[in-house]
């Protein structure tokens, strides 16, 4: 239990997050007082009112008001969201209580793909050309107006859900109808107006990277640049392997970091974690998306930082510990990402159906350099592939001396897995 004078962090955890353990343990590691807020009540909330809270994540203003009431009795020193929606709530809470955080309009722009593209294009940050269209528009008519290849995207969904490439009018019409059906699904339709429109944007060729960074006073500190060695050319854009350090040329990496900094500035993001997806080709970097949150899923376990002060000597510092420290305006230790290459595979959904068994897990774990194979789907769980699906069946982690070897280890471990479905 934290000491009585420990600063209190309000951690906003949606009930569907993968991130609970990593952030809760980081807070414990730092001996901070922790209040976890979620959109659904915890079983212990009535008995532990200082440690657990329910906030209306769907209404950031109301959530900020609720947090303000809570803070009268339990003063807050920091607030932190872990996904796109809670990043907006965190911004609203920070603004209301004068805590470190982003302005609400900046967090909203980062969450909304349309608003984000408009602001980035207005600031001359290279982004794909795009048009916004109602989801109930006539796709036949639109298919004669767009340029090909193009990519159809929902405004709010994450992790490539609903993202479909079209190469010709027939493909466009099919993709439009398929995305329309996804937007009509109850969990998506619940987000209101953003589910009634979609983006059609230029397809940008070239390798894609993911950038993990921390904004401090508006300046981007690059934490890691991940290559995505599987080509993301469509028709769907399932994320699989992330490997860092990047094998792109140093000049390309610098240009990517500069573009990410320009994007953060254009959006008005100033504090906290950012996760950005960029492409790079002969014309330079292209900002595909920037989010005001850290990397999702269990992928942050691929990142380790070496601390060289803070009284702890050389040792591991997690991404979450850095983020919690920053949110609470605590000193950031001098740190750098470990020297070794590291990678994670988000195991692709093997097909539609009910998962009965996963075979070959031990064989996958025995692959040299592989550190962990986590099957997060449970027996009996219905697996839904992209573009409709929203859950990975698991993660594979590897570390080694080189990025190439790490990538090969992840592929070999995945090859040894067999998903039995029915």
């Amino acid at each position: 239990m934290a000491r009585p004078d420990a600063p209190r962090l309000l951690l906003l955890l949606p009930s569907t997050t993968y991130r609970a353990t990593a952030f809760v343990e980081a807070a414990r590691q730092l001996d901070v007082a922790l209040t976890v807020a979620s959109e659904l009540p915890s079983a212990f909330e009535r008995e532990q009112p200082s440690g657990l809270l329910t906030l209306d994540f769907a209404d950031p203003d109301r959530a900020a008001e609720q947090a303000g009431v809570f803070a009268r009795e339990h003063p807050l020193a920091g607030v932190l969201g872990v996904d796109d929606d809670t990043a907006v709530v965190a911004a609203a809470v920070a603004t209301r209580l004068g805590l470190r955080g982003n302005p609400v309009p900046a967090a909203l722009a980062a969450r909304d793909k349309q608003r984000q593209r408009e602001q980035l294009a207005g600031a001359s940050v290279p982004v794909p050309r795009f048009v916004l269209t109602p989801a109930d528009a006539d796709p036949e008519s639109l298919s004669r107006q767009v340029e090909y290849p193009c990519v159809l995207k929902p405004l709010r969904l994450s992790a490539s859900r609903g993202v479909i490439r079209a190469d010709n009018p027939a493909g466009f019409v099919a993709a439009f109808r398929r995305l329309g059906a996804i937007l009509a699904q109850p969990d998506v339709a619940a987000c209101g107006e953003p589910a009634r429109r979609l983006l059609v944007e230029q397809f940008i060729p070239g390798p894609e990277v993911a950038l993990e960074g921390l904004l401090v006073g508006g300046r981007l500190r690059l934490l890691a640049l991940f290559d995505k060695p599987d080509p993301l050319d469509g028709p769907f854009f399932e994320e699989t392997i992330y490997v860092t350090p990047s094998r792109l040329a140093p000049a390309a990496q610098h240009a990517i970091a500069a573009t990410a900094q320009a994007a953060a500035t254009a959006l008005g993001l100033v504090e906290g974690p950012v996760h950005a997806e960029l492409r790079h080709n002969e014309r330079g970097p292209w900002l595909i998306e920037m989010a005001a949150r850290p990397i999702g899923g269990r992928c942050s376990a691929a990142l380790r930082f070496e601390s060289r002060d803070g009284g702890r000597g050389t040792g591991d510092v997690s991404l979450e510990e850095l983020i919690v420290r920053h949110a609470l305006a605590m000193d950031l230790p001098a740190f750098q990402r470990e020297d070794r290459a590291s990678g994670v595979m988000m195991i692709p959904v093997p097909g539609a159906g009910v998962l009965r068994e996963v075979r070959g897990v031990e064989a996958a774990r025995s692959v040299p350099l592989v550190e962990a194979v986590l099957i997060t789907a449970h027996q009996g769980q219905r697996l839904v592939p992209l573009p409709e699906g929203a859950r990975y069946p698991g993660f594979i982690f590897a570390r080694g001396d080189g990025a190439r070897e790490v990538e090969a280890a992840l592929r070999e471990a995945h090859r040894r897995l067999e998903f039995v479905m029915e």
Partner: protein, 201 residues
């Protein structure tokens, strides 16, 4: 070095603690906790883990097919994990029991604490987690460390650690301040009906 058929999954909890899930049982006699290399004498598995050089192992807890290792050294789990795996495999390669049974002892402070914690679990903790279809089982109390296992909706739940730390641990410290720590020995990967299932982001 041992049988290649033994599968071991490392699940780091934080910098200090890591859970190792082994594909075969290690110890059928409840939970055994070892707080030092001296206490591990006679239990080859725990002794081998304490002997890992430069790891700074402070505690080893064995229950069923789970081994929880607590360390104090700065060496990351990425470096230590495979050594722990090798220690587990080597201890299973011999015919001797990997973990010696606990010797019967006279009544201790742990017995009194066990009774109080069991009462708290029965009257308060379990009625609360039952709201989410969950259950919490008190496995043992050793040297003031409470070991529990989650079931039902809590097993594999994305918010299990929130329940553990913000709910159960806080309540334990309020009602039983002599509790020194709380260890979850649940195999969450085997949970088949979690109350909150995690999604992509």
């Amino acid at each position: 070095m041992g049988s290649p058929d033994i599968g071991i999954t490392a699940e780091p909890i934080d910098n200090d603690r890591c859970k190792f899930i082994v594909s075969q049982p290690l110890h059928a006699g409840g939970v055994r906790r070892f707080g030092s290399a001296g206490e591990a004498a006679g239990s080859p598995l725990a002794a081998a883990i304490f002997a890992i050089p430069a790891a700074g192992v402070a505690e080893v807890i064995v229950s069923g097919n789970l081994v929880t290792v607590v360390k104090r050294g700065p060496t990351p789990w990425t470096a230590i994990g495979k050594l722990v795996g090798a220690a587990i495999r080597s201890s299973l390669a011999t015919s001797a029991p990997a973990v010696a049974p606990r010797e019967p002892a006279a009544a201790t402070d742990d017995d009194s604490l066990y009774e109080r914690v069991a009462q708290l679990f029965e009257t308060q903790v379990n009625p609360m987690v039952a709201r989410h279809g969950g259950a919490v089982e008190l496995i043992d109390v050793q040297d003031g460390i409470v070991m529990l296992r989650m079931g039902g909706g809590c097993q594999g739940c994305g918010m299990a650690d929130v329940t553990l730390r913000q709910g159960i641990e806080t309540m334990l410290r309020q009602h039983a301040p002599d509790v020194k720590g709380l260890v979850d020995v649940t195999d969450h990967s085997a949970g088949s009906n979690p109350y909150f299932a995690s999604a992509k982001k």
